[in-house]
Each structure stands twice: as structure tokens, then as C-alpha cells.
């Protein structure tokens, strides 16, 4: 049973004339964490803000538990939003920041105290109630922001790049904490990010967005292993995308060719670096090694096809290769795309 259902929602900003979100549909199940992932300007924030009530869809319908919320103002929605930054009320201390929403709901002071302290404990800020929010570190501030939403027990938690302003280390820690809390409370969550590792590590499902549209909606491992479009293939993880032509079941590009059992025409070949083996070639081979980088556990070989198309391969013995050397490519897994759709996988 889906808690949040978004049907054919579009948003056109009156001044911009761009379709920030374009016929977007998504059903989110109870307790699920869905990541909206996409490059800058792909409409993630706009979509999230529409769910939160801060933007009105130009068309389409959104329901929460079957109830139409498309036109409700934010204060009437059972959603809680965590903003990127600067959203705490600096004239109130931590306790008051959390208590504000409860007071508006006329919850009794005892109950407020109990709930606020419980949630502060949950986000690891027990005893911080009397601190001014200005006295907190960036990470603590974002925990307060999260606690402020959680204390109202929203049906849907919305997070818009909540860790973007934090450093890498802290971001990873908070990511795990949020995931833990989310699973403990079983709270339905929409999480916006443009970091693929964030999406891959947290999400139950990932929605990859591009220009306001959905490119793919799948479990993280599926998105990684079976990208449905070349865009997703290139956006998630590192991927070699080689454009070429197929004739008589052979894909070729600048001296490199490989069997590809599809009809004749243009095609884009996708090979992960970790699925590409190299073999030293005596007679120039299909490509030439440009640079070898040794990471200790593995090595990365940058090589150029004859028309200087750059390709990356992950190798376990980098010392076998050196710059200028000719190699042949032996992909273990390939996918091919045509007209923005997957046509072959092997």
C-alpha cells in the first residue's frame, strides 16, 4: 500500500518557461526510503517542495494515504521537511525550536517536554535543549533540524540535500544515523541528493531524474547493474560509454570491434571499468595505454582508442602495463543502448 502517490505531476515556473518537473509519477510504500538522484537542475528540489507544499504543481495530483493534498498549504500537510541549511530559528534555543510545532498543535507542556527530550535523545543530542542554535556545529544543527521534523511524527519525511554543507566525514556519519533512525521509526522518506554514493548507500529505491523526468526507478543494486538508459549508466558509478555503429552483428569504433547481436545502426556501448580486462598486444592492439595509476589494492588504466576516445579499465596487476603500450580490450559484461533505451545486455 503506497503512502505517497504522485501522479503525472508537472511544474512550469511562470518566469522560466522550463518544465522543472515533467509528468512525474511515483508511488512510495509505507516505511520506504526513496532517493531522488539527478544532476543539478534536474527538478529534485522542485519535486520535493511540491510534496511539502512550498510549490504548487502546474498539473497532476498528489495523495497521502489516499487523501488529495495537491492544493494544501504546507502547514496543513502531514509532511516534515529538513532543509539544506539556515532553517533553524536562531532566536529560540534547541528545545524551543523543537517545541514550536507542538505548541501550535496545543500539546500539553508535559507532553511537549517528554516528546522533545525523547527525540533529542534519538538524534544524539540529549541534554542540548537549552543550547542556543548558534552555539551548535553544522552537524548538530542539521540534527536539530531533523529532530524538529521528527518530533511532529510526520507521515512523510522530506530531506533536501540535508548534509550538503557538511564535510565528507560528517556526511557519511549522519547518513548512517539518518538511515538507522528512519528504519527504527519506519518513517516514509523522500531524500534528495545529487551524490550517487549517498543514494546507493541509503535508498530502498532510487529515482534517477534528468530534466524533470524519470530516467529509472529501481533498487540501488539494480540501478547500478542494469541501468536502463545511457544517462543512468553514465551518472551512476564510472562507466565507459563508447558510441559507434553496428553492422552485421559487429559493433565497431576506431579500430575496436566486438560482437553485438542487434540490428544494424548506431549504438552506444557501455562497459564498467571493473568489467573490462586488458591484454598486452604486440602489434599496436586496439588501444594504447595513456596512464597507469596504482591504488595499492587495484590499478586504473587510462587508454585511448585510435581516435583518442578515452576508456578506463580496472586491473588487478597494474605493474603489467605501462604508458604507450598497445592493448586489446576484453569486456566481461557489456550493455548497448540505442535511442536512449537498452537494446542488449550480456
Amino acid at each position: 500500500m503506497s503512502v505517497l502517490s504522485i501522479k503525472d505531476v508537472s511544474k512550469i515556473f511562470p518566469n522560466g518557461n522550463v518544465r522543472a518537473v515533467d509528468s512525474f509519477s511515483l508511488d512510495v510504500a509505507d516505511g520506504e526510503l526513496v532517493c531522488l538522484l539527478g544532476p543539478s537542475g534536474s527538478g529534485k528540489s522542485t519535486l520535493l517542495r511540491m510534496v511539502g507544499g512550498f510549490e504548487t504543481p502546474t498539473s497532476g495530483v498528489m495523495t497521502i494515504d489516499g487523501e488529495d493534498i495537491t492544493r494544501l498549504p504546507p502547514e496543513k500537510r502531514p509532511t516534515g521537511m529538513v532543509f539544506q541549511s539556515h532553517a533553524l530559528w536562531t532566536h529560540m534555543n534547541v528545545f524551543k525550536n523543537l517545541a514550536f510545532g507542538l505548541k501550535l498543535r496545543k500539546v500539553s507542556p508535559d507532553e511537549i517536554k517528554r516528546r522533545v527530550e525523547g527525540v533529542l535523545e534519538l538524534v544524539g543530542l540529549g541534554g542540548y535543549g537549552t543550547r542556543g542554535v548558534g552555539q551548535l556545529s553544522g552537524g548538530q544543527q542539521q540534527r536539530v533540524a531533523l529532530a524538529r521534523s521528527l518530533v511532529l511524527e510526520p507521515k512523510i519525511l522530506l530531506l533536501d540535500e540535508p548534509f550538503a554543507s557538511l564535510d565528507q566525514h560528517l556526511r557519511e556519519r549522519l547518513r548512517e544515523e539518518v538511515r538507522d533512525i528512519q528504519q527504527r521509526l519506519k518513517i516514509t522518506t523522500l531524500f534528495v541528493t545529487h551524490g550517487q554514493d549517498e543514494a546507493l548507500s541509503m535508498a530502498d529505491r532510487i529515482v534517477v531524474m534528468r530534466d524533470g523526468r524519470t530516467e529509472q526507478i529501481d533498487r540501488p543494486d539494480v540501478v547500478y547493474r542494469e541501468p536502463q538508459t545511457p544517462f543512468v549508466a553514465g551518472f551512476i558509478g564510472t562507466m565507459n560509454l563508447v558510441e559507434g555503429t553496428v553492422s552485421n552483428g559487429i559493433f565497431s569504433r576506431a579500430g575496436y570491434s566486438t560482437p553485438l547481436p542487434v540490428s544494424d545502426g548506431p549504438a552506444t556501448l557501455a562497459i564498467r571499468p571493473e568489467a573490462l580486462d586488458l591484454a598486452a598486444a604486440e602489434d599496436g592492439g586496439q588501444g594504447k595505454v595513456h596512464r597507469v595509476t596504482d591504488y595499492g589494492t587495484h590499478g586504473l588504466v587510462d587508454l585511448d582508442l585510435r581516435d583518442n576516445t578515452r576508456i578506463k579499465a580496472m586491473v588487478s596487476h597494474p605493474d603489467l602495463f605501462k604508458a604507450g603500450q598497445g592493448v586489446t580490450l576484453k569486456p566481461r559484461a557489456i550493455a548497448a543502448y540505442r535511442d536512449n533505451a537498452l537494446i542488449h545486455r550480456a
Partner: protein, 291 residues
């Protein structure tokens, strides 16, 4: 190019560099002493050393006169009344304008801003005559009313409301600008977060916006009050002959009654009140700095 901060000047070569800094500060300090502090002291001395047949002697007679003279007191109270009413009206008028300008992103907002700032560029004397032509006897409003068969308005010209209307209009730009800069400190996300937890318009204004701009309100009101309390042109042209505000009162005592000492006493008393308002301003600025 190398940059030198004041700290470095002090620590690198204290003996040689420091006098330049002091010299730079000395000019304004001397000017302030000469043109502001000294006149104040001299005025206070003048009012306290009263000429007697045997030479001058210390006396608080001029102040006693002021505070026992019914006319002086009613002038003081009309000044306080005008200032108070203007302050309240300014808030009532300017807060909505500032809020609108801050939170609207339509094209109309730009025009409203232009209109709100416009009085800043109009000299008060022109403003006064515009007021008379519009709201005065046989002014535009009267003519319009007459044209549709309505009775004449009771014009605020030459009543205490005349200066109030003029002064409020005159002070709208500065007040709006100060409030607007205060509202600039309230982030959109803080406001959206409040709506998100369920705050309606009123709760938003009362619990989130007003506390954040209380300082700006205090500053705006202190500024307006300081100007209004000692205003001259608008009360002089638009106000009643009696009671009159302190500005015109001083001028008349000085020019028409040839009584400089009484005029200076009135000035010192006006200054005293302004200092109190000034302290409010200083205090709120200091509080702002601390925060």
C-alpha cells in the same frame, strides 16, 4: 600589493606608525568636539548662569520657568503626542509595506518599493505645499468631493494632525528601508520551516518574523522619533499656531520674542529627550553587536 591590518601596524612598528592612525581620527574627533560637544556644553552653561544685576549667577530659573509655564508644557506635550502618534502610525504603515516587499516577488513589488522610497527625494518644504494643495482648504480632495456633491472635508491643515500626516509620509522611506534590511536577515528556509511545522500567517509573523526584526523595529523607531521630535519645517507650515511643536516654538522664541536664553533652554530640554531616544538606539545596536 600588500595589505596591512591595523593589528599589524600596531605590532610591527608601533612607535613609528601609530601617530598616523591617531592623526586620522583626530580630525573628526576635533570637529565633533568643536561643532557638537562644545555647543552643547556652552548651551547648558548659558541656561544655568543667569545674568543678575550683580553679574551672572548659577540658577535653574529658566528650567523652572519652562516646567511651570502652561504654554511651554502644552508645547512639550503636543510634541510628545505627535512623536508618539507618528511612531505608531509609521509602524502600522511601514511594517506591512516592508513585509510585502520582502515576500512578494511580483513586478508590482518593484513599483511599490519605488513609491515607498520616493518621499526621500522630496524636500519637506515641497511636501508641505503638496499636502496643502491636496488636503488643505479648497484643495484637490475638496474639489473632488464638491464635484460629486459631498460636503467639504474637515482639513487636517493647521491642526495637530497636519504635522502628523506630513511627518509620517516624510519618514516612510527610511523606516521601510530599515525594516526591510532587518527582514533580509530572516531566511526563506526559516520561514518555510515554520510553515512546515504548522505555523499559519499570524503565528509566522508573531513567533518567527517579529522576534527576528525587533531590533530593526527599535532602530527604525529611534531614528524616526529623533527626527520627528525636533522637526521644524513640517510642523511650522502644517501645524497649528498654538500649541506648537518644540521646533517652531524655539524658532519663534528666538526670532520673534528675542529671548535667546529661553530658546536655548527649550533646545536643551529637547536635546535631553532626544538623548533618551538616542540611548535606546545605542542600546539596541550594542545588543545587535553582542548577538
Amino acid at each position: 600589493m600588500t595589505m596591512t591590518t591595523p593589528d599589524q601596524i600596531g605590532s610591527v612598528t608601533p612607535a613609528r606608525r601609530r601617530p598616523y592612525g591617531l592623526l586620522l581620527v583626530a580630525t573628526p574627533v576635533l570637529l565633533v568636539l568643536w561643532l557638537i560637544i562644545w555647543p552643547i556644553i556652552s548651551a547648558i552653561i548659558t541656561t544655568l548662569w543667569v545674568p543678575t544685576p550683580e553679574g551672572s549667577a548659577f540658577s535653574i530659573e529658566t528650567y523652572r520657568f519652562f516646567f511651570s509655564d502652561g504654554y511651554s508644557l502644552s508645547n512639550l506635550s503636543i510634541t510628545l503626542w505627535t512623536t508618539g502618534v507618528c511612531a505608531i502610525l509609521l509602524l502600522v504603515v511601514c511594517l506591512p509595506i516592508a513585509l510585502y516587499l520582502r515576500f512578494s516577488n511580483t513586478k508590482v513589488a518593484a513599483y511599490v518599493q519605488g513609491l515607498a522610497i520616493f518621499p526621500m527625494f522630496v524636500p519637506s518644504i515641497i511636501l508641505s505645499f503638496a499636502f496643502i494643495r491636496v488636503l488643505g482648504p479648497n484643495g484637490t480632495v475638496d474639489l473632488l468631493f464638491n464635484a460629486v456633491g459631498l460636503p467639504k472635508i474637515r482639513t487636517p491643515y493647521l491642526t495637530p494632525w497636519g504635522p502628523v500626516i506630513g511627518l509620517v509620509w516624510d519618514n516612510i522611506p527610511l523606516t521601510v528601508l530599515i525594516l526591510l534590511s532587518g527582514l533580509g536577515n530572516v531566511s526563506n528556509q526559516a520561514i518555510e520551516a515554520a510553515r512546515d511545522v504548522g505555523a499559519g500567517r499570524f503565528a509566522l509573523l508573531w513567533h518567527i518574523i517579529l522576534p527576528r526584526i525587533s531590533n530593526s523595529i527599535l532602530v527604525a523607531i529611534s531614528f524616526a522619533v529623533l527626527g520627528i521630535f525636533s522637526a521644524f519645517t513640517l510642523p511650522y507650515i502644517l501645524g497649528p499656531a498654538a500649541p506648537e511643536m518644540m521646533g517652531p516654538f524655539m524658532q519663534r522664541t528666538f526670532r520673534d520674542l528675542y529671548d535667546p536664553q529661553t530658546a536655548i533652554t527649550q533646545a536643551v530640554i529637547t536635546f535631553g529627550f532626544c538623548i533618551v531616544f538616542g540611548l535606546f538606539y545605542v542600546r539596541s545596536v550594542a545588543k545587535n553587536r553582542a548577538a
